[in-house]
């Protein structure tokens, strides 16, 4: 099987994010980047499919020159090929999707894995856009996958339960937690990855469809509120949780 995994380079979830001086981008100073956690499920699923059926797993990312670090991680997890589509300045989801789709057309994969969302900008647009460009089905938020007879059978998380769907290959699968347990890169593979090539190519430019106007950090957390211990206070607590906090 020819397997493509799209991986996004995101700030480590433990990093404290600050807005940069332009008020539109994040301050990248001292940020540690990782593979977006949902994309690790994609890599793992791709590797397992390959181990079962043979073939190749290619990891691709659209990003700056520095993005080779996540491609090295993917190589250390034992993907066969790593590709960097180079893009430096601020880009929108359309641009990234167009580039991923063009690359996919070139290598013609049997299946494409993505994360359910990239945990940095969380636009959640990529699987749909790429599937539209390629004219192939896309199944999102998949937590269990079986491939047989040219078809993908996927279990999807839906509100309060599961849905089981079938799609013909090639298709796009966006991965959800629970799909698998991603492997740790092994030390010998980490060392071998060092000498594996990373293919670098120039991005295709597109017009900006969505423009970022500004970015801001949420205001300081609201102070806690202490209620009394009467029956009325319990009603008030329920009301606040329902109407203000909107969590019940």
């Amino acid at each position: 099987m020819n397997i493509l995994v799209c991986i996004s380079r995101v700030p480590d979830t433990a990093t404290r994010i600050l807005v940069g001086p332009d008020g539109k981008t994040i301050d990248t100073q001292g940020i540690k980047y990782v593979i977006s956690p949902y994309d690790e499920y994609g890599i793992e699923e791709g590797l397992r499919l390959k181990e079962k059926n043979g073939g190749t797993v290619t990891a691709v990312t659209v990003g700056s020159e520095g993005s080779t670090d996540i491609l090295r991680t993917a190589l250390a997890m034992c993907v066969d090929k790593a590709v960097l589509i180079k893009a430096d300045t601020h880009k929108d989801s359309y641009f990234v999707a167009k580039n991923l789709a063009e690359y996919a057309k070139e290598i013609n994969p049997d299946i494409i894995f993505m994360g359910r969302q990239s945990v940095d900008y969380d636009s959640l647009q990529m699987p749909s856009m790429v599937s539209e460009f390629l004219g192939i089905p896309s199944v999102s938020v998949v937590s269990k996958l079986t491939i047989a007879d040219g078809k993908a059978t996927a279990e999807r998380d839906v509100e309060g339960g599961k849905e089981i769907v079938e799609a013909s290959l090639p298709c796009i699968i966006s991965c959800q937690k629970g799909l698998n347990e991603p492997r740790y890169p092994k030390l010998p593979d980490i060392m071998k990855a060092k000498s594996k090539p990373i293919e670098t190519r120039e991005a295709i430019q597109t017009d900006e469809k969505v423009t970022v106007l500004g970015m801001s950090i949420p205001l300081k957390q609201r102070a806690g509120r202490i209620l009394g211990d009467g029956d009325g206070d319990i009603d008030e607590l329920v009301r606040l949780l329902h109407e203000e906090a909107k969590i019940i």
Partner: protein, 387 residues
């Protein structure tokens, strides 16, 4: 709360991509595989042997050994980082890895014949074989050159007699690297499990390194075949192995210190006394600052020593300084962390007492703090003060 591995001087920026990946990979391994089970093993006094296949699978056995012998072929800095992460879990796990890597695979790789390397290194890397290192004797600890264990030449091999004590992994080992006097000169022998006259009973009653196997090795007219002699003569054989292991310990101790520091910061911020988080008191802040200060220096010492080793420019005295300093500050950090955690500090859930008790062994083995002081004293003055 997620572990925040303190790196105040951004040493990570100085690491290669591979070294960073090794650090993260082992960190995640410890988080998911070691920390959930280690407390129970510690209480029961059992070694978590279920971790052996996982550690070998990750490539933690034979980290600096070249791939042709089954190793990972990583740098010494990479090896050190792996030890740092393992000891964040428990000193017993790091000790297991230190022995296998530095005290067993290193001498076989460095001094062994091609036959010995091919026979043992791949098995030791895959975890199919476990090794141990027998130098210390009941009456000879800091002064190993006085050892009584001895070998005599017989037809086709050697006859080994004597006893070793305090030997990590002894009872579970398939192969023991044993140091004995042959014609009055310290010589290494590979003693295979099951050899007639060789037994390795486990020592009981430890209140430190409880999740590690510690054993006696007893040799009674134990016949060693000719091909199991290790080709290195004199005390420099075992000492060169110890230098490797001590280097790993200097990183490992930093990992334990980082663990108790992180726990202390989180605890101090969340524990309320006198209507405030205890972190708001100057006395607590001073304790946190002491830890941060000493951990940062220890990290820089370990990192620089790693680079010197990678360039082949290190001196063994530099390893003595690193082992001596880093274990000492780690132990003090544990005591401070224990105070910050109040009564909770003595519970096994908080890991502090376990690290503290473990580090008491670490301070003694691989050259006691005193012995490293004497090594450095001699290096400064040119005057040995051992006797």
């Amino acid at each position: 709360m997620a572990y925040n591995a303190i790196d105040y001087y951004n040493i990570e920026e100085l690491l290669s991509d591979e070294e960073k990946l090794i650090m993260y990979s082992v960190r995640e391994f410890v988080e998911n595989e070691v920390l959930p089970i280690i407390g129970e093993h510690y209480l029961k006094g059992t070694f978590p042997s279920e971790l052996i296949p996982k550690m070998s699978g990750l490539g933690l056995l034979g980290i600096t050994i070249p791939p042709e012998y089954g190793g990972a072929g990583a740098s010494y800095t990479g090896y050190g980082l792996a030890m740092m992460e393992l000891e964040r879990g428990d000193s017993a796990i790091r000790s297991f890895a230190s022995v296998q890597n530095s005290l067993v695979m290193y001498p076989i790789y460095t001094y062994g014949t091609e036959g010995q390397k091919n026979k043992w290194l791949p098995k030791l890397a895959s975890g199919e074989a476990i090794g141990c290192f027998g130098l210390t004797e009941p009456d000879y600890g800091s002064n190993p050159s006085g050892m009584l264990t001895n070998a005599k030449k017989i037809d086709g091999g050697y006859l080994l007699n004597g006893a070793k004590m305090w030997i990590t992994n002894g009872t579970i080992a398939d192969i023991a690297v044993v140091w004995a006097k042959f014609d009055g000169v310290i010589t290494g022998f590979l003693v295979e499990k099951g050899t007639k006259g060789f037994t390795a009973p486990e020592m009981k009653g430890k209140l430190s390194l409880r999740a590690s196997v510690t054993s006696e090795l007893i040799f009674q007219d134990c016949e060693i075949p000719e091909e199991n002699l290790i080709d290195i003569k004199g005390l420099k054989g075992p000492l060169s192995c110890l230098t490797q292991a001590r280097y790993g310990i200097s990183w490992g101790a930093v990992g334990a210190a980082m663990a108790v520091y992180d726990s202390s910061v989180q605890y101090a911020k969340s524990r309320i006394q006198f209507n405030k988080p205890i972190a708001s008191f100057q006395l607590i802040q001073e304790k946190l600052v002491w830890m941060l200060n000493e951990i940062t220096k220890a990290q820089l010492v370990a990192y620089r020593l790693g680079r010197l080793k990678d360039e082949g420019k290190d001196r063994f005295q530099q390893t003595s300084l690193a082992k001596r300093n880093n274990v000492d500050i780690a132990l003090t950090a544990c005591r401070i962390a224990r105070e910050i955690h109040g009564a909770n500090g003595i519970l096994y859930e908080y890991h502090i007492m376990r690290h503290a008790a473990n580090l008491e062994s670490v301070k003694t083995y691989e050259g006691t703090d005193d012995i490293h002081t004497l090594i450095l004293g001699e290096d400064i003055t040119g005057i040995p003060a051992f006797e």
